[in-house]
Amino acid sequence: MADTGIGASVRRREDARFLTGRGNYTDDINRPGQVYAYMLRSPHAHARIKKLDTKKASKAPGVVAIFTGADMKTGGLPCGWLVKNQDGSNMAEPPHPPLAQDFVRHVGDQVAVVIAETRDQAKDAAELIDVDYQPLPAVVSLADAVKPKAPQVWEQAKGNLCYDWAIGDKAAVDAAFAKAHHVSKLDLVNNRLVANAMEPRAAIGEYDNLSGDYTLYTTSQNPHVIRLLMGAFVLQLPEHRLRVVAPDVGGGFGSKIYHYAEEAIVTWAAPKVGRPIKWTAERSESFISDAQGRDHVTHVELALDKNGKFLALKVQTLANMGAYLSTFATCVPTYLYATLLAGVYTTPVIWANVKAVFTNTVPVDAYRGAGRPEATYLLERIVDVAARDLKQDPADIRRRNFIQPSQFPYQTPVALQYDTGNYEATLDVAMKMIDYKGFAKRKEEAAKRGKIRGIGLACYIEACGIAPSAVVGSLGARAGLFESANIRVHPTGSVSVFTGSHSHGQGHETTFAQVVSDMLGIPIEQVDIVHGDTGKIAFGMGTYGSRSIAVGGTAIVKALDKVIAKGKKIAAHLMEAAEADIVFKDGKFSVAGTDKSKTLTDISLTAYVPHNYPKDLEPGLEEQAFYDPLNFTFPSGCYIAEVEIDPDTGVTKIMRFVASDDFGKIINPMIVEGQVHGGLAQGIGQAMLEDCLYDKESGQLLTGSYMDYCMPRADDLPSFEVKHSDKPTPCTHNPLGVKGCGEAGAIGAPAALMNAISNALGIAHLDMPATPERVWRTIQKQKMPQAAE
């Protein structure tokens, strides 16, 4: 089985349908008699709705119905995580109605839904809706929102504060700072990003008035959670009346985790109009309605002794929530961010304070990496600043502070316990790949050509496989974070796997099948992976936070264990042996020490045709497992970027980008590398191109289309050099030893690049994105047209 089992770069089985145009994305689905929804959205960042008149619009050609907030008085979209203030009180949690109630709070807030026979008719009619807005002062930036006289987004959130949260031992940190040899300081911005999955969000709501059943087709990373949130909290429908299908989904990167208003609106309205309702976002609509990412302002201080050992870290962050709390918004800048601030280092004491702030902008939530890129960026930037302050090599100062392989399990001062790791190993591999020692020569050579060359490295760690339910529960999560799997062995030995994980590009249909084929010793063609449909799968928590293989994959292994255990009972009966003597290997149940054996097919057939069968055993061969992980998994790695800047234009060219990762055990190296490439592109995008900007005065989104929001294109990126650690450290607490790889690139790349650019320019810091204009201005300011230093 070596060619298709664990560790083989099996080519993806899902590709055939995507490559021939036979994918089944939500907008490809058409239901008989369907009508189309168009959302009328607020053009104002903040306003009171004085009047909303739909009379004229409702008479427009093709219009079936129009609903406003006055019609749709359902529950609000819930926030999944309760964060406590430092004083123990609860965070401010304003309501989040699917259709605006009296006020709009960001450009794009939906005020009405028009349902018509065609998309264009719905859009035309929306123009006839008469809304009288009374514009109110708006605030979009973090710095402005916390000013004493700032406009207030919510009456119940004084000073626009959602929460004021802290982690770590402040007194110990202050004491360490008082004794420090040196303190490095930095102010930095983590720029707001738009996830921009290539498939715009879409939803189809359908209602069967005979059975009372609802179906929602939606572009979601976690259909079961949507069913739970929408059913229980927004529409108050029992789960069994609701089926949520997330078929092929064209990328998510976090933006399709959340429950969105449009899903609730089309489902709620379907019985009212008596026809299926389809809504598909236009791209410019996605820009003002998909949850956005990042958006932090941070002050960080690192205390060091005279040898460059880290003594203490102090972090103060303002995090933008936007106008409403999206599903996971509150946990991103707290439990997914501050708990990673130890990074890969032995810093003994850490204190972090995070203030979450409301503004009149699109809600912010998890985007690829979620909290961990923000933590890595600030940590790896301040470490470089410290190296610069103390005149040490950035690689040396890191090496001196690494947690050593002998120190695991390692308890950080910010709650997490890392199980394994070998950070020096990935650093060594990356430095060798890029020929770190030879850099000085290359820099000299570049200077001769009038170019400024820089090198920068970043060491990252991430907490993946989210997460032990008991732990997240104690931290305010209103959900558990397990995963489910069901293995159905059919009578003739083929296998269907029903997984609660959801694939939107990660290749589960291949990777999961590899695990099953390997463990059961059957050809991969015999294995079918089913996902994305609450009507077929018992339960699931979905795909995000690199949890599919670590949590979903483990649930599959647990279910397979049960299948094999039952198989042994049947085999023992058939071969008249003791159950304890049956060994299962390479698809065969054998009696130890004999040549007697039965294949999986013999066993499955017996299970379904139980003429000769153990007395007390149930027929059938189908097992279910729910797996709640014992801990997070902790992938880590080292990325190094080498850049050349043209001082005349400020254009930065990435000459090389090398990545060395430790993902523990790897199921499919080809797919893992692909995941790294994608993450790197998004990390490089953040560092060099992407920036979601709002106009300070009007609150308008300035980067609201692909013409204004700059995403990496093929010509902006280099080819990547990706290697796995030569001393991988498998996860110790899941049976596969896997850690997860989906976010690594986006976590490590921004810091590596910004370190390289700062190094080239010979400056302490430059905020992202390092656009040619920003770099050119920096060069002008430095009055350094020649190479730095």
Partner: protein
């Protein structure tokens, strides 16, 4: 809204219909002909998810009206594979893992085939420049570039 009759050859078969004057070619393909392989990723003609061949050349089908394609020969992603065999470019994308979510993929493949029709053996830089009009958010382009170079070789064979 004025209606217009259009007729064209799509993937070798005659196709016709009545459309509004404003109907885009991509809407006609997806909504009237049910050829949903051609995707819509933006509303500003920036992403290339909708690329098809019109009279042998790659065109963003969201930038032209169905009426403008009247009488044209159109090939969409559904028309690329022949007799159940993947086109060499499709096969190269699979072999080199040039896709993840698959949403940009039909546009990428159609663009790539047109590139190779013009340039039999494109360099990495030429491929990257040609893809200026196609956005992929998943792959970082690394494997797409590899796939297209391999696909070009295979098409030459």
């Amino acid at each position: 809204m004025a209606s217009i009759n259009v007729a064209m050859t799509v993937n070798g078969k005659a196709a016709s219909g009545t459309v509004e004057a404003r109907t885009l070619l991509v809407q006609f393909l997806r909504e009237k002909l049910g050829l949903t392989g051609t995707h819509v990723g933006c509303d500003t003609s920036q992403c290339g998810a909708c690329v098809v061949h019109v009279n042998g050349k790659s065109v963003k089908s969201c930038t032209i009206l169905a009426a403008q394609a009247d009488g044209a020969k159109i090939i969409t992603i559904e028309g690329l594979a022949k007799n159940g065999e993947l086109h060499p470019m499709q096969a190269a994308f699979k072999e080199h893992h040039g896709l993840q979510c698959g949403f940009c993929t039909p546009g990428m493949v159609m663009s790539a085939v047109d590139l190779v029709q013009n340039n039999k053996n494109p360099s990495e830089q030429e491929v990257r420049e040609w893809l200026e009009g196609n956005i992929c958010r998943c792959t970082g382009y690394h494997n797409i570039v590899k796939a297209i170079q391999a696909g070009a070789k295979a098409m030459g064979r």
